[in-house]
Assembly symmetry: C2
Homo-oligomer: 103 residues x 2
């Protein structure tokens, strides 16, 4: 059904969209409710929910209902580690990104 490369591409796709990445960045500071993430990201509530559903189905975040709030959190430390590695890389490669428009 899915080979290793497809799975990995799918994993990285979780980080490859500004909105989703904003959500993941927020969650690096700990569990957050949907409405908190609406606040921090500036996205609409349905949009946040959609991305969260995606991230959850891909296994990147965990969902926990507490009363009428729903808390989300990163499901694995390595998710944070990936973002940190990305931070380091960008510090060095940043110049190049300014011209990267294709695809």
């Amino acid at each position: 059904m899915f080979n290793a490369t497809e799975l990995k591409a799918k994993l990285f796709r979780g980080f490859s969209d500004t909105s989703r990445l904003g959500i993941l960045e927020t969650l690096r500071d700990g569990p957050r409710t949907v409405s908190e993430m609406v606040e921090t990201t500036g996205l609409t509530q349905p949009n946040v929910s959609n991305h969260l559903a995606c991230l959850r189905e891909c296994g990147l975040v965990r969902r926990e209902q507490k009363g009428k709030f729903v808390y989300y959190e990163l499901s694995d430390e390595r998710i944070s580690a990936l973002m940190e590695l990305g931070d380091g890389l960008i510090a060095d490669l940043a110049k190049g990104f300014y011209e990267c428009t294709r695809y």
Copy 2:
């Protein structure tokens, strides 16, 4: 122009497409020519060239012309490290991916 989140999303977008990831995986084994990557990935030559141009502009790969061949290689060890981290994560999260279709 670009904030940190946009830059990082752009970085991960390099890994988020099956074709590009296939190219990057090939390059984990060392420098390769375009035609070698056409072989290993099964993509058409223009498609490989397009993705390479993208990866290069984003700073993920380096280009070196040698005679009529052009060799590409990963421009930083951390690119390989990112993929390796991804491999580990997938081993644990794989089940979830099978249902991930949205976005």
